[in-house]
């Protein structure tokens, strides 16, 4: 604490001198963004970075869908196709969803708990600025001889060790940097929430977004080192002659999967818990009614986080496990649906007998609740081991995780952006464009992902560049939905550019009629420095 106060002290003084002209002292040009330790600037950087990565990862998805538009090989060769699926996954997970949530945490956590900034501002700067390098390394590997990583974002050994190309070294290095960035971000969130809450902001008064992020941050610190361990073992197996995952040297390729999914399953909750927080902020606002079951929401989030450590092998039912282990992981996985169900029921109960309006953030939130629940229900089906043998590694799984990640995590991020954007810019965004963005996305995303359930059940494996003829009709539709969803995001881009140019009607400090919380008590746009004197929460 002492450290962080020292670090930001000079800026404080300046801010006081120009209390009414906040913009005057902000360094301008590239230096402002390179050297910034301001949580709002860093939040903006994270969010734009995530959006650019979303567009790049999306472009790769377009290549995938173009190749799969009809049977036969048309556009790319299978080796490049595998690079596209791999890098698309890595970019979307580590480059789009996670940094977007970190960006939201940067913007919102200090404002929600009445803190002047994040606790460790210089580390905050560093944890953002190592990210572009990491992704530059990853993306540049695509231009190497032999191409980039092509073993799937799950990089199962020995495909990623003995049988991979030289770009594996770059892949490992970039994942290390992404991990370091995530851990630093998580430490910052935890330290901020533990130490910098305003007087009276007790634990059980914290907004749910803060709670869910706090729990997410602990998950990150617990599992990112496991991922770092996994990639390091891949590196030494490939380049330094170790045999962690090579049976011929006494290792075990299935051990890789245990290690990876011990990281990977908490990772999927890392990508959804902050989404739960966002929806729990938005629904009460537009229902004009307090969140139903606040305490149970907190406990449900914590239960999901704890359970996430004991379900990892449900990704591996076909690897050959003892029946007892399969049973354990089946039952543990099914259990997760209980706290998750509690959350959905609480949101519906919050709406019940509220006084609802459907502004754009609420539209996305409602879409989230419906579509995320569909993804959750297919997740419950996947938990049933004997049936999972049929679903595993088919498009049914692809449909499932895109419902929870695209219409779940990404829709929640979009909801969050629409909800807080007027607070950030001081202007209402272009509502017409926003509604276009919502409806186009909603329709196209379902044309894109819903038929994947069908082709998966009918037997189409995932990660194949070409497919049997009976899958052709649906794949055509899936591709068309994909192109439409991709184009819809350009509407979002246009809207964001307009918003950043500060076009639009000025908004009040509360912005939305039913909005409650500290961030809605400061002026819009939020001043460069907020809560230099802590507010008192009653």
């Amino acid at each position: 604490m002492a450290h962080s106060t020292d670090t930001i002290a000079p800026e404080h003084t300046t801010a006081h001198e120009h209390d009414d002209h906040h913009d005057h002292h902000i360094p301008s040009g590239i230096k402002r963004w390179l050297y910034t330790t301001n949580h709002k600037d860093i939040g903006t950087l994270y969010l734009w970075f995530a959006f650019i990565m979303f567009l790049i990862g999306g472009a790769m998805a377009m290549v995938i869908r173009l190749e799969l538009f009809q049977p036969g090989l048309q556009i790319v060769d299978p080796n490049f196709f595998n690079q596209m699926t791999t890098v698309h996954g890595l970019i979307m997970v580590f480059g789009a969803v996670m940094p977007a949530f970190t960006g939201l945490a940067n913007w919102l956590v200090p404002m929600m708990i009445g803190a002047p900034d994040m606790a460790l501002p210089r580390m905050n700067n560093w944890s953002f600025w190592i990210l572009p390098g990491a992704f530059l390394i990853l993306l540049s590997s695509l231009f190497m001889e032999g191409g980039g990583p092509s073993f799937g974002w799950t990089f199962y050994a020995p495909l990623s060790t003995t049988y991979s190309g030289d770009s594996t070294a770059l892949f490992v290095f970039s994942v290390h940097i992404m991990g370091a960035s995530s851990i630093m971000g998580a430490i910052n969130v935890i330290v901020t929430i533990f130490n910098m809450r305003a007087p009276g902001m007790t634990w059980m008064k914290m907004p749910l977004f803060v709670w869910t992020w706090l729990i997410t941050a602990f998950l990150l610190i617990a599992v990112m080192p496991v991922l770092a361990g996994a990639v390091t073992m891949v590196l030494t197996d490939k380049f330094f002659g170790t045999s962690f995952f090579n049976a011929a040297g006494g290792g075990d390729p299935v051990m890789f999967q245990h290690i990876f999914w011990f990281f990977g399953h908490p990772e999927v909750y890392i990508m959804i818990l902050p989404a739960f927080g966002i929806i729990s902020q938005i629904v009460p606002t537009f229902a004009r009614k307090k969140l139903f079951g606040y305490a149970s929401m907190v406990y449900a989030t914590a239960s999901i986080a704890l359970l996430s450590f004991v379900v990892w092998a449900h990704h591996m039912f076909t690897t050959g496990m003892p029946v007892a282990a399969e049973m354990f992981f089946m039952f543990a996985t099914m259990l997760i649906s209980v706290p998750t169900g509690v959350k959905v029921f609480n949101w519906v109960a919050t709406m019940w007998r509220g006084s609802m309006t459907f502004e754009v953030p609420m539209l996305f939130a409602v879409a989230f609740i419906v579509l995320f629940t569909i993804g959750g229900l297919s997740g419950l089906m996947l938990a049933i081991t004997p049936v999972d043998f049929q679903y595993h590694d088919t498009y049914f799984v692809v449909a499932h995780f895109h419902y929870v990640l695209v219409t779940g995590a990404i829709f929640s991020i979009m909801a969050a952006v629409y909800y807080w954007l007027p607070k950030w810019t001081g202007k209402m965004f272009d509502v017409t464009l926003a509604k276009w963005h919502f409806w186009c996305s909603l329709i196209s995303v379902n044309v894109l992902f819903f038929p994947m359930h069908f082709v998966g059940l009918a037997g189409m494996p995932r990660r194949i560049p070409d497919y049997a003829l009976q899958f052709a009709d649906f794949n055509k539709w899936i591709s068309l939905g994909g192109f439409a969803f991709g184009l819809s995001q350009l509407i979002f881009l246009a809207l964001l550019i307009k918003a950043c140019r500060k076009q639009g009607e000025p908004v009040s400090s509360q912005v939305w009629e039913g909005a409650e919380g500290l961030e809605w008590e400061i002026p819009s746009p939020a001043p460069y420095h907020t809560f230099e004197t802590p507010p008192v929460v009653k």
Binding site: Y294, V323, E326, I464, A468
Partner: protein, 388 residues
């Protein structure tokens, strides 16, 4: 607001069209065969149980969705500000909250019991009538009948021209192999599944059998097929470049027919071995070697080294102009027979006959402008293989 409504109505207007044409499309394919939309009940008792479990789970999920979304949509209709509704003030209710924790739990128990029963039956590989060793490698399957000497590789049979859209695609495009696995109906067949290189996954949807092939470890699975027929599946675990091109085809035959087939295979295998011995005393002509070599090369080598011999730079080395191919004849024969440890280069010694190896090595040393003029005979290959 008016403009907004217009925009909305335009977008919503296109929605029914989209949905309608989508359903029409689905119905059309559904008309052909329901299995284009849903899991197949399959042809074994287990696959039938799995299908029933799937449908049970599906209907429970649909019911939950209907109730939850139903309540939500009713609320979204009734409790709107535009209807002049004033918000209520409740924000917790212990009884309700306990109820919606306990009820889902009970539903889960109801699901878990039949699931556990089926799972135990699926994993019971004891007392099989026969055993087949299934070995995956990049990108083909190998089948070995443990109770006889019969063993062979099973490769994709779809022509490259179909994949490259030069020929029109036939009915079983990408789901056809040169030599399918043959098993008897009505008998418990146990599969021992393993891999030579990366992880593959052996999957036949109609048997509800999907098991990973892990290098260095052996997995078990079993099936008992009721109906004779041809059953098709695919590799289900990403295994590299041609993961999408290693189908599984199983033919189930009546036991009598199966036994006749098995005897024919044993006889054919014996004859092939005799032929191999006879070839050792003979010399084959350049033309003969080159035409046979081209066939073998395209079947076994072209997936990595490419039909042009140029390989994939950075992934698979080129043979065209390669120092080993142009100069070191013994090393060339050796690497084809024994492979190269720690790389994707497989040992073809057990996959190809002496004649085929001789032909393919000759082909590689004379195709694509390599023009060494070298002739490699089956006896030369035998000499390297036996270490002479």
């Amino acid at each position: 607001m008016k403009r907004l409504t217009n925009v909305l109505s335009i977008v919503l207007g296109t929605l029914p069209t989209l949905v309608f044409s989508f359903i029409a499309q689905a119905a059309e394919s559904g008309g052909k065969e329901l299995s284009d939309l849903n899991l197949r009940p399959g042809v074994t008792e287990i696959s039938g149980q799995v299908y029933d479990l799937h449908m049970l789970m599906f209907f429970i999920c649909v019911a939950i969705a209907v109730v939850v979304f139903g309540v939500m949509f009713v609320s979204m209709y009734l409790h709107r500000k535009s209807r002049g509704v004033k918000p209520a003030h409740f924000h917790e209710n212990v009884k309700v909250e306990i109820a919606w924790t306990v009820v889902p739990f009970l539903i889960l128990v109801f699901m878990a019991v039949p699931a556990a029963r089926t799972l135990i039956a699926m994993e019971d590989t004891s007392e099989p009538d026969m055993t087949v060793l299934v070995t995956g490698s990049q990108w083909k399957w190998h089948y070995k009948y443990m109770d006889s000497d019969v063993e062979y590789y099973s490769l994709l049979a779809t022509q490259q021209e179909q994949i490259n859209n030069r020929f029109s695609k036939t009915e079983n495009y990408l789901l056809e192999v040169d030599r399918p696995l043959v098993i008897p109906t009505g008998q418990k067949v146990r599969f021992l599944i393993t891999s030579e290189d990366v992880i593959h996954s052996w999957w036949v949807p109609d048997f509800a059998v999907k098991k990973d092939a892990n290098p260095g470890f052996i997995n078990e699975a079993w099936t008992k097929v009721d109906e004779p027929g041809v059953y098709r599946g695919q590799c289900a675990e990403l295994c590299g470049k041609d993961h999408g091109f290693m189908p599984v085809v199983v033919i189930a035959k009546e036991p009598a027919e199966f036994n006749a087939w098995m005897s024919a295979q044993e006889e054919a295998q014996r004859q092939a071995q005799e032929e191999e011995q006879r070839l050792l005393a003979m010399n084959m002509s350049m033309e003969e070697l080159m035409s046979e070599g081209k066939r073998v090369y395209n079947a076994a080598c072209a997936a990595c080294h490419m039909p042009s011999g140029e390989g994939l730079p950075g992934v698979f080395p080129a043979l065209k102009g390669s120092a080993m191919v142009l100069e070191d004849r013994l090393a060339h024969i050796d690497i084809v027979i024994n492979g190269k440890a720690g790389t994707a280069m497989q040992a073809f010694g057990k996959m190809l006959s002496l004649k085929e190896i001789a032909a393919v090595v000759t082909y590689e040393r004379n195709a694509w402008g390599n023009n060494t003029g070298d002739l490699v005979q089956p006896k030369d290959v035998n000499a390297v293989a036996t270490g002479e």
